[in-house]
Symmetry: C2
Subunit: 334 residues, 2 copies
């Protein structure tokens, strides 16, 4: 391999073939991808869940992951949030001319590893190379498809008054990690991205509980924004108990130093799960069977008053509205 | 709407919601997209064909189309090349801060129009906004899924000695158009991109002919490169008759002026179709029932000698090897 990416690797000609075989096919090796046709043929029966995400995170590597692992976990999780079993992913790169090919190789290796760990197969892809300055390093799109376990699928429209609001673990790890890595904040110590595939955790919950009203991963905008979306979509109010929301001490410390609220920071390996109160304990136990759900807990409940609003009951017994994220906390966190 | 795109439209918060509802949902309006969950739920049974492509073309608007229509047609065509009926598309934007929102709106309107004309539905999406300078204007990824008409699907591995090699129309229009638009080549006149959805044309061929060995759209690298791929994948030789390959006079003129070979220029609304000789006429007639196949013709045949090679029989009766594209003719043509 050359040392850095040349423009002609995106030409569709011989140089493209070489990049595809020496990097992508080598790492992603599987029979569907190997056919190298214009599309992948999949034997899959509906109903299906399909989701797409482009990843532009910077830096490309950060404590707890990379743009590669994130691009797999993120889409695996979006498909999982429909209660579905993610099966196949497509993957499309936009790469900047001059990119160090060793970096690309590490990212692709991370993707292959994450896909294997998530039990999904990368079946088709695309590579564009743009001239220097036309994109910053690399962007990755992954689109995932999976089979729905049951219908109706969990949905942001499904929350009902009386439901319990659960989270699978601590809030804010990914967002603070990216911020600290980008800005070289040396005083933020001991944080790492929570980037992880949640399909196993979701499978356990779906198996244990017959009625899962909402599953959502609180990524951009964090827990507060995602719960606001759910409150709006379901026309319900959501009340949270501040002292029950898990936040790692290192994240709480970093946030208080920076004046940030961890409830608005992105998570990449956590989900919100809303179920009827009587199933809350079973759902929590199911989450805790997963290595990514050890800190699962109930943080609040759904109510019929104040529809569309999220209310935080503070540690000192007060109440305040928790609105959606208004501005841009930090671009390119995912 | 504001006049230009702000960074916080990619934050996942309220500004993102506004962009999604005022631009994407307004143009793409359909019930699946309207649920606004993490993934779309699709009722679709396999076998399926799935394909992904990122579009980075510049300029964003060109004679015959835009990045928006191209992003729909390109993916519709890749799915169609498996003999499949494209059904659903995802669409993911990477947008540069400061982008003129009127331009975005025009691109999205083009996508909606192209999707309608192609009979596909945009069911889920993603938007990232990156700071000024981190991407040039906008990149769009679309991923498509469709139902296979029969198995085995047409494949680059399917060409057999004796088969006829057909094309659905003239070569080189898209590539030359983008080059002329980018470089402001005023002497290249009367050219326009051939960007078009080929699913109707493919449906007609699949209906008319029981054995379709190969379907491929000669995009990046052009006819010559795509036929080389097929020759390699199928371990066959391909012989072309130069005087039968359709090239519009304006494209031939522009190419001879620029020293370019139209057989290496990208097409975005043409396909190569390889069928047993006895089905050639039926396939051509089927192509010509489509408005995009009026100039369909037979340009050569498959042979068992010289496997992996494409041979061009020139107008003066000579023969030469037609190799794959070696370098990069022009970046960002699609």
């Amino acid at each position: 391999m050359d040392k850095c990416l040349l423009l002609d690797a995106g030409s569709g000609g011989r140089a493209s073939q070489r990049l595809i075989s020496e990097c992508f096919v080598r790492h992603f090796a599987n029979p569907v991808l190997a056919t190298m046709d214009d599309a992948a043929v999949l034997d899959l029966n509906g109903p299906l869940a399909m989701s797409t995400d482009s990843y532009t995170v910077t830096p490309l590597f950060f404590p707890g992951g990379s743009i590669g692992s994130l691009a797999i976990h993120g889409t695996v999780n979006d498909v999982s949030m429909m209660g579905a079993e993610p099966r196949y992913l497509t993957c499309a790169f936009v790469l900047e001319e001059g990119l160090d090919l060793e970096i690309l190789d590490r990212v692709v290796a991370d993707m292959a590893h994450a896909a294997e760990r998530s039990g999904v197969c990368i079946v088709t892809g695309d590579t564009k190379v743009v001239p220097r300055g036309a994109c910053d390093g690399m962007f990755i799109n992954t689109t995932g498809i999976g089979t729905l376990r049951r219908q109706p699928a969990p949905s942001g429209h499904g929350a009902r008054p009386g439901d319990a609001v659960l989270v699978s673990g601590a809030m804010g790890d990914h967002g603070l990690t990216i911020m600290a890595a980008r800005e070289h904040l040396s005083f933020v110590e001991g944080v790492a991205s929570d980037s992880a595939p949640l399909n196993g955790l979701v499978a356990a919950v779906m198996e244990a509980v017959s009625e899962v009203h909402v599953l959502r991963d609180p990524t951009r905008g964090g827990l507060a924004t995602t719960l606001n979306e759910i409150a709006q979509q379901s026309h319900v109010g959501i009340v949270l108990e501040e002292d029950r929301i898990p936040v790692h001490p290192s994240v709480a410390g970093g946030c208080s130093f920076l004046g940030l609220d961890p409830l608005y920071l992105a998570n990449e390996g956590k989900c919100i799960c809303i179920v009827p109160q009587e199933y809350a304990e079973a759902a929590l136990q199911a989450m805790r069977t997963s290595e990514y759900g050890q800190e699962a807990c109930c943080i609040g409940r759904v109510q019929d008053t104040q529809p569309g609003r999220v209310i935080l009951r503070t540690r000192i017994g007060g109440e305040r509205f928790l609105g959606m994220l208004e501005g841009a906390l930090l671009p390119r966190i995912c």
